[in-house]
Protein backbone atom coordinates (compact mmCIF):
# COMPACT_ATOMS: atom_id res chain seq x y z
CA UNK A 1 0.00 0.00 0.00
CA UNK A 2 1.32 3.42 -0.90
CA UNK A 3 1.31 5.16 2.44
CA UNK A 4 2.76 8.66 2.85
CA UNK A 5 5.94 7.09 4.18
CA UNK A 6 6.30 4.90 1.09
CA UNK A 7 5.76 7.94 -1.14
CA UNK A 8 8.35 9.92 0.81
CA UNK A 9 11.00 7.18 0.62
CA UNK A 10 10.27 6.81 -3.10
CA UNK A 11 10.66 10.54 -3.73
CA UNK A 12 14.03 10.66 -1.97
CA UNK A 13 15.15 7.43 -3.61
CA UNK A 14 14.04 8.47 -7.09
CA UNK A 15 15.86 11.80 -6.83
CA UNK A 16 19.07 9.91 -6.07
CA UNK A 17 18.50 7.16 -8.64
CA UNK A 18 17.68 9.44 -11.57
CA UNK A 19 20.55 11.83 -10.84
CA UNK A 20 22.94 8.87 -10.52
CA UNK A 21 21.87 7.73 -13.98
CA UNK A 22 22.35 11.22 -15.44
CA UNK A 23 25.80 11.65 -13.91
CA UNK A 24 26.82 8.22 -15.17
CA UNK A 25 26.32 9.55 -18.71
CA UNK A 26 29.39 11.73 -18.20
CA UNK A 27 31.76 8.81 -17.75
CA UNK A 28 34.34 8.89 -20.56
CA UNK A 29 32.92 12.25 -21.75
CA UNK A 30 33.96 14.64 -18.97
CA UNK A 31 36.42 17.48 -19.72
CA UNK A 32 39.23 15.69 -17.88
CA UNK A 33 39.94 12.23 -16.53
CA UNK A 34 39.65 13.37 -12.91
CA UNK A 35 36.09 14.52 -13.65
CA UNK A 36 35.14 11.15 -15.12
CA UNK A 37 36.22 9.65 -11.83
CA UNK A 38 34.64 12.33 -9.67
CA UNK A 39 31.24 12.20 -11.39
CA UNK A 40 31.26 8.40 -11.33
CA UNK A 41 32.01 8.48 -7.61
CA UNK A 42 29.22 10.96 -6.95
CA UNK A 43 26.85 8.83 -9.02
CA UNK A 44 27.86 5.77 -7.02
CA UNK A 45 27.16 7.51 -3.71
CA UNK A 46 23.72 8.50 -5.01
CA UNK A 47 23.05 5.01 -6.29
CA UNK A 48 23.89 3.57 -2.88
CA UNK A 49 21.48 5.99 -1.24
CA UNK A 50 18.81 5.12 -3.81
CA UNK A 51 19.19 1.39 -3.25
CA UNK A 52 18.62 1.66 0.49
CA UNK A 53 15.70 4.06 0.08
CA UNK A 54 13.96 2.01 -2.62
CA UNK A 55 14.49 -1.22 -0.68
CA UNK A 56 12.92 0.46 2.33
CA UNK A 57 9.99 1.76 0.25
CA UNK A 58 9.45 -1.75 -1.10
CA UNK A 59 9.52 -3.27 2.38
CA UNK A 60 7.05 -0.71 3.72
CA UNK A 61 4.76 -1.16 0.75
CA UNK A 62 4.60 -4.89 1.42
CA UNK A 63 3.71 -5.83 -2.15
CA UNK A 64 6.83 -7.90 -2.73
CA UNK A 65 8.69 -5.29 -4.78
CA UNK A 66 12.42 -5.07 -4.10
CA UNK A 67 14.79 -2.28 -5.13
CA UNK A 68 15.24 -3.74 -8.62
CA UNK A 69 11.51 -4.07 -9.20
CA UNK A 70 11.04 -0.43 -8.23
CA UNK A 71 13.95 0.81 -10.33
CA UNK A 72 13.34 -1.25 -13.45
CA UNK A 73 9.65 -2.02 -13.64
CA UNK A 74 7.98 1.31 -12.93
CA UNK A 75 7.07 3.64 -15.79
CA UNK A 76 7.72 7.37 -15.75
CA UNK A 77 4.33 8.27 -14.28
CA UNK A 78 5.23 6.24 -11.18
CA UNK A 79 8.52 8.01 -10.56
CA UNK A 80 8.44 10.71 -7.86
CA UNK A 81 11.73 12.52 -8.49
CA UNK A 82 11.84 16.29 -8.87
CA UNK A 83 12.12 17.47 -12.48
CA UNK A 84 15.54 19.02 -11.81
CA UNK A 85 17.38 15.70 -11.67
CA UNK A 86 15.98 14.38 -14.94
CA UNK A 87 17.09 17.41 -16.99
CA UNK A 88 19.57 16.53 -19.73
CA UNK A 89 23.20 17.08 -18.76
CA UNK A 90 23.75 19.87 -21.27
CA UNK A 91 27.33 21.09 -21.26
CA UNK A 92 29.54 20.75 -18.20
CA UNK A 93 28.38 24.10 -16.81
CA UNK A 94 24.73 23.02 -16.92
CA UNK A 95 25.64 19.85 -15.04
CA UNK A 96 27.61 21.80 -12.44
CA UNK A 97 24.75 24.28 -12.00
CA UNK A 98 22.38 21.38 -11.43
CA UNK A 99 24.88 19.78 -9.03
CA UNK A 100 25.18 22.95 -7.00
CA UNK A 101 21.42 23.43 -6.79
CA UNK A 102 20.73 19.80 -5.94
CA UNK A 103 23.65 19.00 -3.63
CA UNK A 104 23.03 22.18 -1.62
CA UNK A 105 19.38 21.10 -1.24
CA UNK A 106 20.21 17.47 -0.44
CA UNK A 107 22.80 18.52 2.13
CA UNK A 108 20.30 20.63 4.08
CA UNK A 109 17.69 17.88 3.76
CA UNK A 110 19.88 15.03 5.02
CA UNK A 111 21.39 17.21 7.72
CA UNK A 112 17.90 17.56 9.23
CA UNK A 113 16.65 14.09 8.34
CA UNK A 114 19.33 12.66 10.63
CA UNK A 115 16.95 13.57 13.46
CA UNK A 116 14.01 11.73 11.88
CA UNK A 117 11.87 9.58 14.16
CA UNK A 118 12.14 6.93 11.43
CA UNK A 119 15.31 4.95 12.23
CA UNK A 120 15.95 3.85 8.66
CA UNK A 121 15.60 7.34 7.18
CA UNK A 122 17.76 8.74 9.97
CA UNK A 123 20.46 6.13 9.26
CA UNK A 124 20.44 6.78 5.51
CA UNK A 125 20.70 10.51 6.14
CA UNK A 126 23.46 10.17 8.73
CA UNK A 127 25.53 8.24 6.23
CA UNK A 128 24.68 10.27 3.15
CA UNK A 129 25.11 13.75 4.59
CA UNK A 130 28.87 13.20 4.78
CA UNK A 131 28.98 12.10 1.15
CA UNK A 132 26.80 14.94 -0.06
CA UNK A 133 29.07 17.41 1.68
CA UNK A 134 31.77 16.31 -0.77
CA UNK A 135 29.32 16.60 -3.68
CA UNK A 136 28.38 20.13 -2.71
CA UNK A 137 31.99 21.10 -2.33
CA UNK A 138 32.82 19.64 -5.74
CA UNK A 139 30.07 21.64 -7.45
CA UNK A 140 31.05 24.76 -5.51
CA UNK A 141 34.64 24.57 -6.70
CA UNK A 142 33.53 24.25 -10.31
CA UNK A 143 31.00 27.07 -10.17
CA UNK A 144 33.70 29.32 -8.71
CA UNK A 145 36.21 28.22 -11.33
CA UNK A 146 33.88 28.63 -14.29
CA UNK A 147 32.10 31.76 -13.04
CA UNK A 148 35.34 33.47 -12.16
CA UNK A 149 37.24 32.11 -15.18
CA UNK A 150 37.34 33.17 -18.81
CA UNK A 151 34.61 35.09 -20.65
CA UNK A 152 33.53 31.85 -22.27
CA UNK A 153 33.42 29.80 -19.06
CA UNK A 154 31.52 32.59 -17.37
CA UNK A 155 29.04 32.85 -20.23
CA UNK A 156 28.39 29.13 -20.01
CA UNK A 157 28.05 29.16 -16.22
CA UNK A 158 25.49 31.97 -16.45
CA UNK A 159 23.58 30.02 -19.10
CA UNK A 160 23.78 26.82 -17.05
CA UNK A 161 22.32 28.48 -14.00
CA UNK A 162 19.55 30.03 -16.07
CA UNK A 163 18.70 26.58 -17.44
CA UNK A 164 18.27 24.85 -14.10
CA UNK A 165 16.98 27.76 -12.01
CA UNK A 166 13.25 27.35 -12.78
CA UNK A 167 13.43 23.77 -11.49
CA UNK A 168 14.83 24.62 -8.05
CA UNK A 169 11.49 25.74 -6.67
CA UNK A 170 9.96 22.27 -6.80
CA UNK A 171 12.47 21.05 -4.21
CA UNK A 172 10.91 23.34 -1.61
CA UNK A 173 7.24 22.88 -2.34
CA UNK A 174 5.10 21.36 0.39
CA UNK A 175 2.91 18.42 -0.52
CA UNK A 176 0.12 16.60 1.25
CA UNK A 177 1.92 13.30 1.69
CA UNK A 178 4.91 14.94 3.33
CA UNK A 179 2.79 17.19 5.54
CA UNK A 180 1.38 14.18 7.40
CA UNK A 181 4.89 12.88 8.06
CA UNK A 182 6.31 16.21 9.15
CA UNK A 183 3.90 16.26 12.08
CA UNK A 184 5.23 12.88 13.22
CA UNK A 185 8.86 13.95 12.94
CA UNK A 186 9.45 11.46 10.12
CA UNK A 187 10.00 13.87 7.22
CA UNK A 188 11.62 17.25 6.80
CA UNK A 189 9.23 19.99 5.69
CA UNK A 190 10.56 21.07 2.26
CA UNK A 191 9.80 24.81 2.65
CA UNK A 192 12.07 24.98 5.71
CA UNK A 193 15.05 24.12 3.51
CA UNK A 194 14.64 27.11 1.23
CA UNK A 195 16.29 29.69 3.47
CA UNK A 196 19.50 27.74 4.27
CA UNK A 197 19.72 26.59 0.65
CA UNK A 198 19.37 30.14 -0.63
CA UNK A 199 21.97 31.38 1.78
CA UNK A 200 24.51 28.80 0.62
CA UNK A 201 23.88 29.13 -3.11
CA UNK A 202 23.83 32.92 -3.02
CA UNK A 203 27.14 32.86 -1.15
CA UNK A 204 28.74 30.73 -3.85
CA UNK A 205 27.37 32.87 -6.68
CA UNK A 206 28.54 36.05 -4.98
CA UNK A 207 32.03 34.63 -4.56
CA UNK A 208 32.04 33.58 -8.21
CA UNK A 209 31.01 37.10 -9.24
CA UNK A 210 27.75 35.80 -10.68
CA UNK A 211 24.34 37.41 -10.45
CA UNK A 212 21.36 35.46 -9.24
CA UNK A 213 19.49 34.16 -12.29
CA UNK A 214 16.36 36.14 -13.12
CA UNK A 215 13.19 34.75 -11.68
CA UNK A 216 11.38 32.53 -14.15
CA UNK A 217 8.11 30.68 -13.93
CA UNK A 218 8.81 27.69 -11.67
CA UNK A 219 8.47 24.24 -13.20
CA UNK A 220 7.17 21.33 -11.18
CA UNK A 221 5.18 18.11 -11.40
CA UNK A 222 7.73 15.37 -10.81
CA UNK A 223 6.60 14.69 -7.25
CA UNK A 224 3.14 13.96 -8.69
CA UNK A 225 4.47 11.81 -11.53
CA UNK A 226 4.13 14.50 -14.19
CA UNK A 227 7.55 14.52 -15.82
CA UNK A 228 9.35 16.19 -18.70
CA UNK A 229 9.75 14.22 -21.90
CA UNK A 230 13.38 13.60 -20.90
CA UNK A 231 12.62 11.07 -18.16
CA UNK A 232 11.13 8.53 -20.55
CA UNK A 233 14.34 8.40 -22.60
CA UNK A 234 16.45 8.11 -19.46
CA UNK A 235 14.32 5.24 -18.17
CA UNK A 236 14.34 3.48 -21.53
CA UNK A 237 18.12 3.31 -21.38
CA UNK A 238 18.25 2.43 -17.69
CA UNK A 239 15.52 -0.23 -17.81
CA UNK A 240 16.05 -1.77 -21.21
CA UNK A 241 18.50 -4.50 -20.23
CA UNK A 242 16.62 -5.62 -17.14
CA UNK A 243 13.31 -5.75 -18.97
CA UNK A 244 14.78 -7.66 -21.90
CA UNK A 245 16.63 -10.10 -19.65
CA UNK A 246 14.88 -10.14 -16.26
CA UNK A 247 17.23 -10.99 -13.44
CA UNK A 248 20.36 -10.70 -15.59
CA UNK A 249 23.59 -10.40 -13.61
CA UNK A 250 27.25 -10.30 -14.56
Amino acid sequence: MTTPRVAYALALGDDALVLAQRLGEWVARAPELEEDVALANIALDLLGQARTLLRYAGDLEGAGRDEDALAYWRDDRDFRNALLVELPNGDFAVTMARQLVFAAYQYELYDRLRASSDDTLAAVAGKAVKEVHYHRDHATQWVLRLGDGTDESRRRMVAGLATVWPYADELFQPDDATAALVADGVAVDPPTLREPWTSYVEGVLAEAGLELPEAAAPRSGGRRGLHTEHLGFLLAEMQHLHRSHPGATW
Binding site: K127, K130, E131, Y134, D137, T140
Partner: protein, 171 residues
Protein backbone atom coordinates in the same frame (compact mmCIF):
# COMPACT_ATOMS: atom_id res chain seq x y z
CA UNK B 1 35.56 -26.60 17.08
CA UNK B 2 35.35 -22.87 17.63
CA UNK B 3 32.33 -21.62 19.45
CA UNK B 4 33.13 -18.54 21.50
CA UNK B 5 32.33 -15.12 20.19
CA UNK B 6 35.96 -14.17 20.68
CA UNK B 7 37.15 -17.04 18.47
CA UNK B 8 34.63 -16.19 15.79
CA UNK B 9 35.55 -12.55 15.81
CA UNK B 10 39.21 -13.44 15.36
CA UNK B 11 38.36 -15.56 12.34
CA UNK B 12 36.17 -12.94 10.68
CA UNK B 13 38.68 -10.22 11.52
CA UNK B 14 41.23 -11.77 9.13
CA UNK B 15 39.08 -11.12 6.04
CA UNK B 16 40.87 -8.53 3.88
CA UNK B 17 39.05 -5.57 2.38
CA UNK B 18 38.56 -6.27 -1.35
CA UNK B 19 39.44 -2.72 -2.41
CA UNK B 20 42.20 -2.12 0.15
CA UNK B 21 43.56 -5.65 0.56
CA UNK B 22 46.50 -4.47 2.69
CA UNK B 23 44.08 -4.00 5.58
CA UNK B 24 41.45 -6.28 7.06
CA UNK B 25 37.81 -5.39 7.51
CA UNK B 26 38.56 -5.22 11.23
CA UNK B 27 41.40 -2.73 10.76
CA UNK B 28 39.24 -0.63 8.45
CA UNK B 29 36.50 -0.50 11.06
CA UNK B 30 33.76 -1.96 8.88
CA UNK B 31 33.41 -5.13 10.99
CA UNK B 32 31.06 -3.99 13.73
CA UNK B 33 29.94 -7.07 15.62
CA UNK B 34 30.05 -10.86 15.70
CA UNK B 35 27.47 -12.72 17.79
CA UNK B 36 26.65 -16.36 18.26
CA UNK B 37 23.21 -17.55 19.23
CA UNK B 38 22.38 -20.47 21.54
CA UNK B 39 21.92 -22.82 18.59
CA UNK B 40 25.30 -21.85 17.16
CA UNK B 41 23.92 -19.49 14.52
CA UNK B 42 26.39 -16.69 13.82
CA UNK B 43 25.42 -13.11 13.04
CA UNK B 44 28.01 -10.69 11.67
CA UNK B 45 27.34 -6.94 11.37
CA UNK B 46 29.27 -4.90 8.84
CA UNK B 47 28.91 -1.28 7.77
CA UNK B 48 29.76 0.28 4.39
CA UNK B 49 32.39 3.00 4.08
CA UNK B 50 30.18 4.82 1.56
CA UNK B 51 26.50 4.27 0.72
CA UNK B 52 27.39 2.99 -2.74
CA UNK B 53 30.35 0.87 -1.71
CA UNK B 54 30.37 -1.87 -4.37
CA UNK B 55 32.55 -4.13 -2.23
CA UNK B 56 29.84 -5.06 0.26
CA UNK B 57 28.67 -8.14 -1.64
CA UNK B 58 32.24 -9.39 -1.94
CA UNK B 59 32.88 -8.78 1.76
CA UNK B 60 29.71 -10.65 2.68
CA UNK B 61 30.72 -13.61 0.53
CA UNK B 62 34.27 -13.58 1.94
CA UNK B 63 32.98 -13.66 5.52
CA UNK B 64 30.69 -16.59 4.78
CA UNK B 65 33.52 -18.44 3.02
CA UNK B 66 36.02 -17.77 5.80
CA UNK B 67 33.64 -19.11 8.46
CA UNK B 68 32.83 -22.12 6.28
CA UNK B 69 36.54 -22.97 6.26
CA UNK B 70 36.16 -23.37 10.01
CA UNK B 71 33.10 -25.54 9.73
CA UNK B 72 30.62 -22.79 10.48
CA UNK B 73 27.77 -22.74 7.99
CA UNK B 74 24.88 -21.09 9.79
CA UNK B 75 25.75 -17.45 9.17
CA UNK B 76 23.95 -14.18 8.57
CA UNK B 77 25.89 -11.11 7.48
CA UNK B 78 23.91 -7.95 8.12
CA UNK B 79 24.64 -4.47 6.83
CA UNK B 80 24.16 -1.71 9.39
CA UNK B 81 24.08 1.94 8.29
CA UNK B 82 23.99 3.49 11.75
CA UNK B 83 26.13 4.66 13.31
CA UNK B 84 27.71 5.86 10.08
CA UNK B 85 31.24 4.71 9.37
CA UNK B 86 33.97 7.21 9.99
CA UNK B 87 37.66 7.10 9.16
CA UNK B 88 38.26 7.47 12.92
CA UNK B 89 37.43 3.76 13.15
CA UNK B 90 40.50 2.75 11.18
CA UNK B 91 42.77 1.15 13.79
CA UNK B 92 46.35 2.35 14.44
CA UNK B 93 47.80 -0.79 12.88
CA UNK B 94 45.41 -0.33 9.94
CA UNK B 95 46.71 3.20 9.43
CA UNK B 96 50.27 1.93 9.60
CA UNK B 97 49.53 -0.82 7.04
CA UNK B 98 47.99 1.69 4.63
CA UNK B 99 50.97 4.01 4.88
CA UNK B 100 53.42 1.14 4.47
CA UNK B 101 51.72 0.30 1.18
CA UNK B 102 51.81 3.79 -0.25
CA UNK B 103 48.32 4.92 0.77
CA UNK B 104 48.20 8.00 2.95
CA UNK B 105 45.84 7.41 5.88
CA UNK B 106 43.14 9.96 6.69
CA UNK B 107 43.99 13.03 8.70
CA UNK B 108 43.48 12.92 12.43
CA UNK B 109 43.62 16.57 13.31
CA UNK B 110 40.27 17.87 12.27
CA UNK B 111 40.46 21.24 13.98
CA UNK B 112 42.34 23.20 11.34
CA UNK B 113 40.31 24.39 8.42
CA UNK B 114 41.36 24.25 4.82
CA UNK B 115 40.38 27.89 4.72
CA UNK B 116 37.08 27.86 2.82
CA UNK B 117 34.55 28.54 5.52
CA UNK B 118 32.54 31.23 3.85
CA UNK B 119 29.56 29.05 3.01
CA UNK B 120 27.30 27.61 5.61
CA UNK B 121 28.26 25.93 8.84
CA UNK B 122 31.67 24.32 8.93
CA UNK B 123 31.08 20.61 8.54
CA UNK B 124 33.28 18.14 10.37
CA UNK B 125 34.81 16.68 7.22
CA UNK B 126 35.81 19.84 5.42
CA UNK B 127 38.94 20.05 7.48
CA UNK B 128 42.20 18.65 6.30
CA UNK B 129 45.79 19.17 7.29
CA UNK B 130 48.52 18.72 4.75
CA UNK B 131 48.80 15.06 3.82
CA UNK B 132 52.21 13.47 4.24
CA UNK B 133 53.63 11.65 1.21
CA UNK B 134 53.64 7.90 1.99
CA UNK B 135 56.67 7.43 -0.28
CA UNK B 136 59.15 10.04 0.96
CA UNK B 137 57.42 11.52 3.98
CA UNK B 138 57.32 15.07 2.64
CA UNK B 139 54.39 17.24 3.76
CA UNK B 140 54.70 19.21 0.49
CA UNK B 141 51.80 17.53 -1.31
CA UNK B 142 48.69 18.63 -3.14
CA UNK B 143 45.30 17.18 -4.01
CA UNK B 144 44.89 16.31 -7.69
CA UNK B 145 41.31 15.14 -7.34
CA UNK B 146 38.93 14.83 -4.42
CA UNK B 147 37.65 11.60 -5.97
CA UNK B 148 40.01 8.69 -6.58
CA UNK B 149 40.01 5.07 -7.71
CA UNK B 150 37.49 4.07 -5.07
CA UNK B 151 34.86 6.01 -3.13
CA UNK B 152 36.99 6.24 0.00
CA UNK B 153 40.12 7.59 -1.67
CA UNK B 154 41.31 10.88 -3.15
CA UNK B 155 44.20 11.28 -5.58
CA UNK B 156 47.20 13.28 -4.38
CA UNK B 157 50.68 14.02 -5.68
CA UNK B 158 53.91 14.76 -3.86
CA UNK B 159 55.76 17.91 -4.86
CA UNK B 160 59.01 16.63 -3.37
CA UNK B 161 59.32 13.22 -5.06
CA UNK B 162 56.68 13.84 -7.79
CA UNK B 163 54.96 10.54 -7.05
CA UNK B 164 51.17 10.34 -7.11
CA UNK B 165 49.49 8.46 -4.26
CA UNK B 166 46.08 7.54 -2.89
CA UNK B 167 44.80 9.19 0.26
CA UNK B 168 41.96 7.77 2.33
CA UNK B 169 39.89 10.91 2.81
CA UNK B 170 38.50 11.82 6.19
CA UNK B 171 34.81 10.99 6.57
Amino acid sequence: MVTTTQDLREIVATVPDPELPVVTIEQLGILRDVRVGPSGHVTVDITPTYSGCPAMDAIRADIVARLAEHGIHSVDVRTELAPAWTTDWITPDGRAALEEHGIAPPGRDTLLSRGRKSHGPAAPIDLTLSVRCPHCGSPDTRELSRFGSTACKALWVCRACQEPFDHVKAL
